[in-house]
């Protein structure tokens, strides 16, 4: 019982420091996932283009991301970016996370685009729409709707993966937990505390995604 009381004490007393880490986790996640989404859309379009070289570029990118651990990507980009183009840690972290999630988002969007019935493209083209206009107005809106559950899932993974940038010295949620744990020589309550914060973030995001799914299902 005293263990549980101790955990609650730590949880309550550490609130202020964790809020700082929480903010950084949110900034990291939002920035990296927005960029990852744009990267993903870009590479998805390369993959479905009929140009072999563009497809290879997309394949190479996805292979690189899938073939190496995220922590390696983060360190390579961290040393690469901070020493060569002098980005700060935050943006190096964002770059690493976005580079990583972008590949998975590209595959999700590509799959969603390819799952849309070819008749949709034909209908658009038969009305005189160009292929670009058909993609933008007809295919992508339907593909995004269909991709909402998978994208939501990928965003959740992205948020949890952002904990790895603590290894380049970011004091986001996990970084705060590690620092507090070692400063107080008392690890478990701080790691339990940080778990609770992640659970709350993921819960909120899950509810949002479910609401979005319901809303979009109405028109289908």
């Amino acid at each position: 019982m005293s263990g549980i009381k101790h955990f609650f004490d730590v949880f309550i007393n550490s609130f202020d420091v964790f809020v700082e880490g929480f903010k950084i986790t949110i900034y990291l996640s939002v920035a990296s996932l927005l960029i990852a989404f744009i990267i993903g859309l870009f590479f998805a379009i390369l993959k479905i283009s009929n140009v072999k070289i563009l497809q290879w570029i997309a394949d190479a990118y996805i292979w690189l991301v899938r073939g190496t651990p995220l922590i390696v990507q983060i360190f390579v980009l961290y040393y690469g970016l901070t020493e060569i183009i002098l980005l700060d840690k935050f943006w190096a972290g964002v770059a690493g996370l976005a580079f990583h999630s972008g590949a998975y988002i590209a595959e999700i969007i590509r799959g969603a685009i390819q799952s849309i019935d070819k008749g949709q493209t034909e209908a658009g083209r038969s009305l005189g729409m160009t292929s670009g206009l058909t993609m933008r107005r007809i295919i992508l809106p339907q593909a995004f709707r269909r991709a909402v559950p998978s994208l939501g899932n990928q965003f959740i993974i992205g948020i949890k993966d952002s904990s790895l940038v603590s290894f380049i010295g970011m004091q986001e949620l996990f970084g705060v937990a590690s620092t507090q744990g070692s400063n107080n020589f008392d690890y478990l309550p701080f790691y339990l505390t940080v778990a609770v914060y992640y659970l709350i973030i993921v819960l909120v995001l899950t509810v949002l995604v479910n609401m979005l799914e319901k809303k979009m299902a109405q028109s289908d």
Binding site: A123, L127, G128, M129, T130, Q142
Partner: protein, 248 residues
């Protein structure tokens, strides 16, 4: 058909189309005069859809000529998107845009392609919906409509671009039998209004009643063509007789 004076809407000469090694259209010749309804019949795989799709450049021919309103259309010299604006198409599976309302489906191309104002497109779209008997359905999503209603919306959507020709690829084949009539009567009204139409269908009643010219295709070739009574009642070719025997 009266001879000579009529305006040639579509002329096809020696049209060939292959998919890889598969030679699907073989030296097709076809003429469609303004306001005529040409009906394409033939067994599955004979190339009817491919022919229609070549006419609207969803498929690109390998050789031969396609002349639309006196204009020989080539991929190299023409903006095919512009040509498609003039040639409307209705598909077997409707292909309505599920993320847009009925009216949204109809105004999409006029506003996005032709740059017509939204107000104007809505006004015209509602008139078209009245015409196909769906004036009260403008604000619903396609998923709430029956097949027959969907197909009538698809017809209105194609008409919204004010095409000179309408192509129909088995417009009633995906419908429950009781819904076929409403679509055919919409098409008949369109023909009565003077629309030039090329229709692939298995509805021989429609072909007889509304068709001006019937074309029988087999294995990528036109075997025989003629006015409906001649082709249906006095087919000259053995193949045509066999085919008509198999479906009637």
């Amino acid at each position: 058909m009266s001879e000579g004076k009529e305006k040639e809407m579509i002329k096809v000469e020696k049209l060939n189309k292959s998919f890889g090694d598969l030679h699907v259209l073989k030296d097709i010749d076809l003429k469609v005069n303004e306001s005529d309804v040409v009906v394409l019949i033939g067994a599955s795989g004979s190339g009817k859809s491919t022919l229609l799709r070549c006419l609207n450049f969803l498929e690109i021919k390998n050789s031969g000529k396609i002349v639309i309103e006196g204009d020989q259309i080539e991929q190299e010299t023409h903006d095919l998107n512009k040509v498609r604006e003039r040639v409307g198409m209705v598909f077997q599976h409707f292909n309505l845009f599920p993320h847009k309302t009925v009216l949204g489906n109809i105004i999409e191309a006029p506003t996005q392609v032709k740059g017509i104002s939204k107000e104007q497109a809505i006004k015209e779209g509602k008139l078209l919906l009245d015409k196909v008997g769906l004036g009260d359905k403008y604000n619903v999503y396609p998923s709430t409509l029956s097949g027959g209603q969907k197909q009538r919306v698809a017809i209105a959507r194609a008409l919204a671009m004010k095409p000179d020709v309408m192509l129909f690829d088995e417009p009633t084949s995906a419908l429950d039998p009781e819904l076929v009539g409403e679509v055919l009567s919409t098409m008949k009204e369109l023909a009565d209004d003077g629309m030039t139409m090329v229709v692939v269908t298995h509805e021989m009643g429609f072909a007889r009643e509304v068709g001006d010219w019937v074309v029988y295709m087999h294995d990528g070739k036109i075997v025989e063509s003629g006015i409906p009574i001649d082709l249906f009642d006095n087919p000259r070719k053995e193949r045509t007789k066999e085919f008509l025997g198999s479906i009637l």
